[in-house]
Symmetry: C2
Subunit: 192 residues, 2 copies
């Protein structure tokens, strides 16, 4: 089972899927964990942490997959987003559950084959892949499911690099390249 997280301080999407035989994916759960913008930063982080920890306890996923946050993004919200992602990492690490990080570009590529896909395309593909009759709403919820699907569909050679990538499809190769790019960017971040 994979629990995907679309991190945010005000709204944090959570999506849970089951990856069965031959990569068949099933929908399990979707929700949004919220914090009250009128309360102090520490109480908001506590609310996000408690909500995420409750989901992780309930579903006991094999992996928690979280959208990777970059400093280049919107300055006004990026610190809160990074802190919310930190709450998800901590809640997983405290329970010995491995954490994966995938960028928005990796998610879009994995789901639509297009790293610049529109939100509505992502939502439609998420609904199709998971056999949902309605589009997952709100956007945070759809993004959390997309993050989990991305982790489930990641090509075997994507992060290992080397020979195995010769056998990838075009979409998988693009995905692998995006993953490598984000790894290089992350290597820079690792100085932090």
């Amino acid at each position: 089972m994979i629990l995907g997280v679309d991190p945010g301080l005000t709204r944090c999407g959570v999506g849970v899927i089951e990856a069965g035989a031959s990569r068949r994916l099933s929908f399990i759960h979707v929700d949004v964990v919220r914090s009250d913008p009128q309360t102090s930063q520490d109480l908001r982080l506590l609310a996000i942490y408690n909500g995420l920890a409750e989901k992780i306890e309930r579903f006991a996923p094999d992996t928690v997959s979280i959208e990777r946050v970059f400093a280049q993004e919107n300055h006004n919200t990026v610190l809160g987003t990074a802190q919310a992602a930190g709450m998800a990492m901590l809640a997983a690490a405290q329970r010995g559950i491995p954490v994966a990080l995938h960028t928005p570009t990796e998610v879009k590529l994995a789901i639509t084959g297009n790293g610049r896909a529109e939100k509505i395309q992502i939502e439609r593909m998420v609904a199709r892949i998971l056999n949902l009759n309605v589009l997952p709403k709100p956007a945070d919820a759809a993004d959390a499911l997309a993050q989990a699907i991305c982790h489930a569909l990641r090509p075997a050679g994507a992060l290992a690099g080397g020979e195995r990538e010769q056998h990838l499809t075009t979409a998988q190769r693009q995905w692998a390249e995006a993953a490598q790019t984000s790894k290089r960017r992350h290597s820079v971040d690792r100085g932090m």
Copy 2:
């Protein structure tokens, strides 16, 4: 008792002081909580959280005072710093301990009367205020003590604004202005 935190993902300074009668300050404890840069981000945050939670449990401070992080700072490290600050906020909030946030400028003003003071000036004043025979080292430890001292020395009217500020000294007025400026910047950040 006040527990100050200089947040960082690799090194997180912790300084504890006691504020006695007539603002007499005493040194209690100083240390640096570390994480291994070779491990994954989630395990690093877990190490920082565990180290900070242990300190907060041991000293049971009345307030945890943390350096406020801004997105404008160094891009490569700011997200890890923000996440480490988030670990401190969570560890305090989980124990019902109030959190205060002071900017580096507020800390420098409170301790030296100069918002652009050099590191060595801060270290010397921290040693003098706390009657230490040696300068507190490393820098993260000194900054954590400075953060705690800043919270202890904050002028009564600094954050309330209004009439009471008429009675402040010049240094206190500069401090209050810096605090107001950071509050305005923070109001923008609150959208996150």
